[in-house]
Amino acid sequence: MAAAEFETPELKDYIEVPKLREGATAHVKSFIAAKPVQDFMGYPHELGDDWKERAIDKMGDLLGKYRSLKVFLDACVHCGACTDKCHYYLGTSDPKNMPVARQDLMRQVYRRYFTTAGKLFPKLVGAKDLTKDILDEWYSYYHQCSECRRCSVFCPYGIDTAEITMAGREILNHVGMGQKYSNEILGKVQKIGNNLGLPGPALEDTLEGLEEDIEADTGVPVKMPMDVKGAEVLLVTPSADFFSEPHVESLIGYAKVFHAAGISWTLSSHASEAGNFGLFNGNYETMRKVAMRIRDAALELGVKRIVVGECGHAWRVAYSFWNTLTGIGYGGNDPFSIELQKQLDPNYPQPQHICELTNDLIKAGTIKVDPSQNDDMVVTYHDSCNVARASRMGTEPGGQFTIPRELIKSVANNFHNMADETIYESTFCCGGGGGLLTDDLMEVRVKGALPRMTALNNVVKEHQVNFMATICAICKAQFTKVLPKYGFDMSMVGGVHQLVSKAIKLD
């Protein structure tokens, strides 16, 4: 099945709000998950006769469990504030990619089955019976949302389309329309331990090879330990860090930081993945199961600290949800969380982001860096959506913006921000987040990257920027693919710890 042909949008000087083109990406349909994948997840793989009842029942169930869904479906006044905020709308011109219209795909059904006005006067309030056509639209457009939350920043009621998308995908899974890409990955992470499906021995080989490379390169025996009981730190990082370019450069950076600071650390073969696609699917129990691997590894290895590598959605799940899901954090007073929390070192935040750790070590003078090693680089920083709008670093609100930039500036001399309306909380998604990083969605990935590419192009022209640092495995993989489509070199993207790796002094 070949994906439809499409043209890469042309870069302009500024981000343009396009005129509506109805149905512009209605043909986009991510591959559906096959039977074995759905079986493992406990979902059906095809629509049964009772799909409609199942869908409405599931919606009712979610409305009772998630206040976000209930309030967000009720509160929207169709003011239009969000209509020009989604990168997929800006890139595709399809009106159903406007956040409010994406929500309305579900809101029309909610109104029909769950509200008085929609039951009595459906036409008046835009309520509709659930049909197969609507279900197909859900599948198409809930896989054209990267759950980046940019719309939620600008909504006067904080309506977060990501919550609606998650609910939509959850309902789709329950009626037998799962997405191949995300559900296959959720199978691999639970069966093998990571999203890439790298078994333990292969992982060990890879790490040994990397250790040899580092020693050949620097003359210093930097180690990448795995499954070491009694290590101080458990590092949980996206599995792309083990063998994808440019991700692996950051992994080398983390290893050098631990080495230089003299901190004993370990990876875990059982929890060799920070990513948690349960977030994208919106199923609490799946997300919890995937997160429990980290708790289990921490208990088994007896570590005192848990540190997370460069991964956007993983950091959201770790920072915002791990304490809730698995008790990794503080403040629990139930036996389940106390069991783990009594083991953790209270002098450090749990979990801690690798940027927090490295930045603190540099500021304290524990590790030394030579920023002139990166003098060939003119660096900008892409705030990843889940880090920017769904998490924090440090003790102050906004630390997720200042700490990575502080860190970059301490290891590189040339830094320029992109335009204000495209960074910090207003950052544009790379275009591949939220379960869309698959070739069958290449059209929306390329078009959705348009706002970010426009902002990047401007700092390239103005400041000769030649490196866009980011702390997300999905961003890195996505940009590696889409940068060339917009005429940039794919090696322009890399991790913050790729810069750290070059600048750090190892002796």
Binding site: V17, K19, L20, L63, K65, Y66, R67, S68, K70, V71, F72, D74, A75, V77, H78, G80, A81, C82, T83, D84, K85, P95, M98, A101, T115, T116, A117, K123, L124, V125, G126, V153, F154, C155, P156, Y157, G158, I159, D160, Y284, E285, M292, Y319, S320, F321, N323, T324, G327, G329, Y330, G331, D334, F336, S337, P351, R389, A390, R392, T395, P397
Partner: protein, 244 residues
């Protein structure tokens, strides 16, 4: 007592009942529905006090809307702040003696009606003019604005053009409050104004006007950003911990 008075008295009792019962139910429903995960849109305040401050800025100044779109913000804020003053002014018809601050704001409340109607007209114009907003507008979106404009304009007519029997009107509403129904002045503009207000009261708890209570329950705005320090678990999710 005239049929008209009986109809309007019954209408307002019923509208008040539906408004109060509907809102109480909705607020109860929102408050008992858990938010199982910490999902504040960050950067977010780290303390409960900070959350109150954030919410106050949203409710009073429409901070997020200001960041988003200056036109919607101007029209929306003119409408809401105007409505607030107009409603406050109307308290004089429901209190005896009239509270001194209500007396003080009377002139402001009168002219605030102009703000209100200008804001509403701007919001309505956007529904026709901006293609993106036109696309998302349902019939009820237009009708809601038309209803509010009609209420505003009929009120302004009585304030600025053709005064109604305001003493008789106050007697009618005070009578309703003390269950001692008094005759309602049969002024057509007044009757239209009151009927539209009663309609708005009935629509409120079953429409998008729920954004008013809704914002206070919006997890992206009302949660403190402290998930590493405090364990946040919903009752239905806590049961999962016990199976381990």
């Amino acid at each position: 007592m005239s049929t008209l008075t009986i109809i309007y008295a019954g209408m307002f009792y019923l509208a008040t009942l539906l408004l109060v019962a509907g809102l109480v139910f909705k607020i109860y429903d929102y408050s008992r529905t858990p938010a199982p995960l910490k999902i504040p849109t960050t950067p977010a305040p780290t303390t409960q006090k900070g959350v109150v401050y954030r919410m106050a800025k949203e409710v009073v100044l429409f901070e997020s809307l200001f960041k988003s779109n200056k036109w919607i913000w101007v029209f929306g804020w003119l409408f809401h702040f105007g409505l607030f003053l107009v409603l406050a002014r109307h308290l004089r018809y429901f209190t005896e003696p009239v509270w001194s601050w209500v007396g003080f704001i009377q002139p402001f409340g009168k002219y605030a009606s102009i703000m209100m109607v200008i804001g509403l007209a701007g919001l309505l114009a956007r529904r026709f003019v901006v293609d993106r907003v036109r696309y998302i507008s349902t019939p009820s979106d237009y009708l809601m604005l038309v209803l509010l404009i009609a209420i505003g304009v009929s009120g302004m007519l009585m304030t600025f053009v053709a005064h109604t029997d305001i003493v008789g009107l106050k007697a009618f509403f005070m009578g309703l409050m003390y269950f001692d129904v008094q005759p309602l002045p049969a002024d057509p503009i007044l009757l239209a104004h009151l009927a539209l207000v009663a309609l708005l009261m009935v629509i409120f708890p079953v429409s998008k006007l729920l954004h008013a209570p809704g914002i206070f329950f919006s997890p992206t705005r009302n949660q403190a950003d402290n998930p590493r320090e405090h364990r946040h678990v919903a009752a239905w999710a806590a049961r999962l911990d016990q199976n381990n």
